[in-house]
């Protein structure tokens, strides 16, 4: 396979990671809402943890974006 083509295919495969991170972030907020509606009085105290979970899940999607950018423009 041509090296240039392999790079672009690799970048496209790395984009799967961004979609997976979307699942993760959706799961974080979805689970939070689900339990927040069960016990709304406890929800406000957990907002910090919500955003920690969001940051951790999002970082992996952003890493996938970095990998694909590096494959396209740097490698």
């Amino acid at each position: 396979m041509d090296a240039e083509a392999a790079k672009l295919i690799g970048a496209g495969l790395a984009a799967i990671g961004a979609g997976m991170a979307a699942l993760g972030v959706g799961n974080v907020f979805g689970s939070f809402l689900e339990s927040a509606l069960r016990n709304p009085s406890a929800a406000d105290g957990q907002q910090g943890r919500l955003f920690i979970g969001f940051a951790a899940a999002e970082l992996l999607g952003l890493l996938a974006f970095v990998v694909s950018m590096i494959l396209i423009f740097v490698a």
């Binding site: 910090g48 969001f54 940051a55 999002e58 952003l62």
Partner: protein
């Protein structure tokens, strides 16, 4: 892409100290603009009136927000770090928001310096340095017990220590990378959609009305999302900094 290009301004291309170029770039100009906006914001609100006006209430909301964040995450000792975390939060927030201003309409091109790893990396290193300095000053070599969680079985200690050490050392990278990539990705996305609008309109009225208009509608939505991301990323940076400070102040 042109919006991420760093250019020296005002003929300072070859300004150097000890062989290092210190040209005043557009990145530096927007850092100055951010600091000036933050300064005006604080100056208008620090009147210490008993009944706060609108502006003072806005400033007090922001300081109160960060102060609550630190008290919740670090405890009573967190009050000491309010000035640092507040400056960090406001600086990143204003930088993100100023970079989104549609000033291109009047020929002035905004530059988001938080979309460069050099800028966010330095902010992350500052947070990490504070954690190291506070941790080693307060706990001396006992700080290393941070890497061995309470109740670890003895045979597991070397492995756990290694894993915790690695996860500790990647913190500045993940902290800086998150902000930088989130801002870059948002601006690239807007740029791609804007390219759709322009190219489809150039290809003919039919394409312009179908592809162009729908892309433009999407751009409006994404712009709103980008403002949300700008605020969330600034908040996440401040939140993670306060968590790391908590590790240094209270160990586990």
């Amino acid at each position: 892409m042109h919006q991420f290009a760093i250019e020296p301004l005002f003929g300072t291309d070859h300004l150097a100290i000890g062989g290092y170029n210190i040209a005043f770039t557009n990145s530096a100009l927007w850092m100055v603009a951010t600091v000036v906006v933050l300064w005006i914001f604080m100056l208008g609100g620090m009147k210490r009136e008993l009944v706060p006006g609108r502006w003072q209430a806005a400033v007090e909301t922001m300081t109160g927000f960060i102060s609550n964040l630190l008290t919740a995450n670090v405890g009573p000792e967190g009050k000491r770090y309010v000035p640092y975390v507040f400056s960090l939060f406001m600086f990143i927030l204003l930088a993100n928001l100023l970079g989104l201003l549609p000033l291109g309409l009047v020929g002035l091109h905004p530059f988001t310096f938080t979309s460069h790893f050099t800028a966010t990396g330095v902010l992350a290193i500052m947070s990490f340095a504070i954690v190291l300095i506070v941790g080693f000053y307060k706990h001396k070599l006992h700080f290393f017990s941070l890497f061995v969680p309470h109740g670890t079985p003895v045979p597991m200690i070397p492995f756990i220590f290694l894993i915790e050490l690695v996860s500790f050392m990647v913190r500045p990278f993940s902290l800086g990378l998150r902000l930088f990539v989130a801002m870059t990705a948002g601006h690239v996305l807007l740029k791609v959609l804007a390219g759709f609008v322009i190219n489809s309109t150039n290809a003919g009225a039919g394409f312009g009305l179908t592809v162009g208009l729908s892309s433009f509608a999407l751009m409006i939505g994404i712009s709103a999302l980008e403002m949300l991301v700008a605020v969330i990323q600034a908040y996440v940076f401040a939140l993670l900094t306060s968590l790391y400070i908590n590790d240094a102040v209270n160990l586990h």
